[in-house]
């Protein structure tokens, strides 16, 4: 067989990439838990996008005559809180907040972490300084670092996003650095360099795309942590402030009434747990799927 024939039979780079993605997706949906997680995430996304269509009621509309109605009440199937606000509409709008905060915190953290990780892995001279800085950030248990940042910036939901994103930077930087260190020794990177490609081009066009698998897994798992931490900080009164329909803040407000209206804390808690569970299982399944799926020879 001549060399030309073999070259013709090889699929294009784009096709190979599509094939790898297809294999990853197939492996992902083989995992039953991942499907459950994906369905929950899709539901949350739908609730977040279509909140005004799903619920006609303003989540902050008070009606003291209807306060603390139990689950199953007509017109308020998840009951109402101590101000007579409809819990279902607060849960739906809360989905929007939790998703927005999660995406915001994770994206900001990714930007910081990827830049630091790329620089640290690519330039040996910067590696020592950046990694010592990362070690220093690791010296604070996560929630503590977030709290210190909130103590400086003040209590608000936006500051929670900033705090969680800063907290995400060291882990992300370490993951990216690890990948960069192994990728930069590959022959195609050496080839690019000998062709005269600039460092920036090599990093952005060739190294970064090949670090995507661990970054995607990290981002998915981090969504779970971000949503859980936002709820925790809001519960402590350091995040969302009343009357924002944030799930953690709803539990904090409901604590006082849990003797008489336990649904005020039970429902938002289940919402948080389901969403965090979903991102955790999808992250887990993605790791397994990407481990095997991205390598074309398997």
């Amino acid at each position: 067989m001549s060399t030309e024939v073999v070259t013709q039979q090889l699929p294009s780079h784009k096709k190979m990439k599509e094939f790898a993605l297809f294999k990853t997706w197939k492996r992902l949906i083989k995992n039953k838990m991942a499907i459950v997680g994906l369905v929950i995430i899709a539901l949350q996304l739908f609730m977040a996008l279509a909140a005004p269509v799903i619920v006609g009621v303003d989540p902050n509309k008070q009606n003291l005559e209807l306060s603390e109605l139990p689950i199953g009440t007509e017109g308020h199937w998840l009951g109402t809180d101590n101000y007579g606000r409809d819990i279902w509409s607060r849960i739906v709008y809360g989905a929007r907040i939790s998703l927005l905060v999660g995406i915001g915190a994770v994206s900001l953290g990714l930007v910081g972490g990827v830049v630091l990780g790329l620089l640290s892995g690519y330039y040996r001279r910067l590696d020592g300084i950046i990694m010592r800085f990362v070690d220093l950030m690791f010296a604070f248990p996560g929630i503590l670092l977030a709290m210190l940042i909130i103590a400086i910036l003040g209590t608000s939901l936006v500051n929670v996003v900033i705090a969680i994103s800063i907290w995400s930077i060291p882990t992300c930087a370490r993951i990216v650095r690890g990948s960069v260190l192994s990728i930069k020794k590959q022959e195609y990177i050496i080839a690019m360099r000998s062709l005269g490609a600039s460092d920036l081009r090599i990093m952005v066009r060739h190294v970064l795309p090949n670090c995507m698998a661990p970054i995607i897994v990290f981002a998915t798992m981090r969504m779970a942590t971000a949503i859980l931490s936002t709820a925790s900080l809001s519960f402590l009164g350091l995040g969302a402030q009343p009357p924002t329909p944030e799930w953690g803040a709803m539990i904090a407000a409901g604590q006082e009434y849990m003797w008489t209206s336990p649904h005020m804390i039970v429902i938002p808690g289940i919402a948080i747990m389901l969403v965090v569970f979903a991102f955790n299982v999808v992250g887990d399944a993605l790791r397994d799927a990407l481990d095997q799926g991205m390598s074309l020879d398997k």
């Binding site: 519960f235 604590q255 938002p268 948080i272």
Partner: protein
């Protein structure tokens, strides 16, 4: 081994200096002038200036940092803006409660986590394994402040088996144990889930190892195979997870203390953040971060001791 310890301790000292610098700087980055906060709204310009002079806030930043460091070594962490109480005193008062809670939680986490992990691995692919895997995933996903509230609702309010909150009795008394039970379960659940997952996978790996097959082939009793050959080796990574979790539990006490109204360092921190009482926040953060890195150091050293294959060269 001695080299490892010396190197690790040296790194720890550098890390502690870094932590103290970050904590010190946090006060200077934060908006608001400490002197004005201490003086209160009625203070005149002269009063504020006098306070500034008194606190050394007019000194260069580096000089202030060295003063702060000197203070830390002398056990002086400053005074609260709110109560004027010495920060070190307030922390010493509350620290035993935080430590008791963290230790009780790690015991809960180890007992539940290791047991569930080992049984899951031994009964691999059975209903127990499936159930405990799902529960472990649930345990990681459950918000612990919510779990605490639900436990209070069920066991303190409805069944009245445990008190609703507070930690006032010594932990060795029945009352003290009752007070610690719900907070320890609340805080320990997440770690129990992580330990269970780690124990399961470590155990599964070891069970399939050649030397275990050889032990079985020699005719060693199953109990001995599990206890002597599997458990000892499987527990090495688990110990790291336990150590790391203990550090995180110290951080986690912040939330649990709030739910159960326990007067610990975590609750002190939250109250201080809300009141923008910086010396208190700094002192508590410094304590928890220092303990966290100390625990990690101990885990590193213990890890090298129990597994001679580990080398940190």
């Amino acid at each position: 081994m001695a080299g490892l310890i010396v190197r690790r301790v040296f790194q720890l000292v550098l890390l502690l200096i870094g932590i103290s610098f970050i904590v010190f700087m946090s006060m200077h980055i934060a908006p608001g002038d400490p002197a004005s906060i201490i003086g209160g709204p009625t203070a005149t310009k002269e009063d504020v200036e006098a306070i500034r002079e008194n606190l050394g806030l007019n000194e260069p930043l580096l000089a202030q940092y060295f003063d702060y460091l000197k203070g830390i070594f002398a056990g002086d962490l400053g005074f609260s803006y709110q109560t004027k109480q010495a920060v070190s005193e307030a922390i010493i008062d509350r620290f035993p409660n935080t430590l008791n809670l963290a230790i009780a939680s790690i015991i809960v986490a180890i007992v539940i986590g290791v047991t569930a992990g080992i049984i899951s691995a031994l009964k691999h692919n059975t209903w127990f394994d499936g159930l405990s895997t799902i529960i472990a995933l649930g345990g990681i996903s459950i918000p612990n402040f919510w779990l605490g509230a639900i436990l209070i609702l069920i066991f303190a309010v409805n069944l009245q088996w445990f008190p609703v909150g507070g930690l006032t009795e010594p932990f060795w008394t029945i009352e003290g144990m009752k007070q610690l039970a719900l907070p320890a379960i609340t805080l320990g659940t997440g770690s129990a889930a992580m330990i269970a997952r780690m124990s399961r996978s470590a155990m599964l790996e070891v069970i399939r190892a050649d030397y275990v097959r050889t032990a079985r082939a020699k005719g060693v009793r199953e109990k001995t195979v599990i206890m002597m050959h599997c458990l000892r080796n499987a527990m090495i990574p688990v110990i790291t997870v336990i150590g790391l979790n203990f550090g995180f539990l110290l951080g986690g006490t912040i939330i649990t203390e709030s739910v159960f109204a326990i007067n610990g360092v975590g609750r002190l921190m939250i109250e201080s953040i809300a009141a923008r009482d910086f010396p208190m926040v700094q002192g508590s953060v410094l304590l928890v971060a220092t303990l966290f890195v100390l625990v990690n150091l101990i885990v590193d050293i213990v890890y090298a001791f129990i597994d001679p294959r580990i080398s940190y060269e």
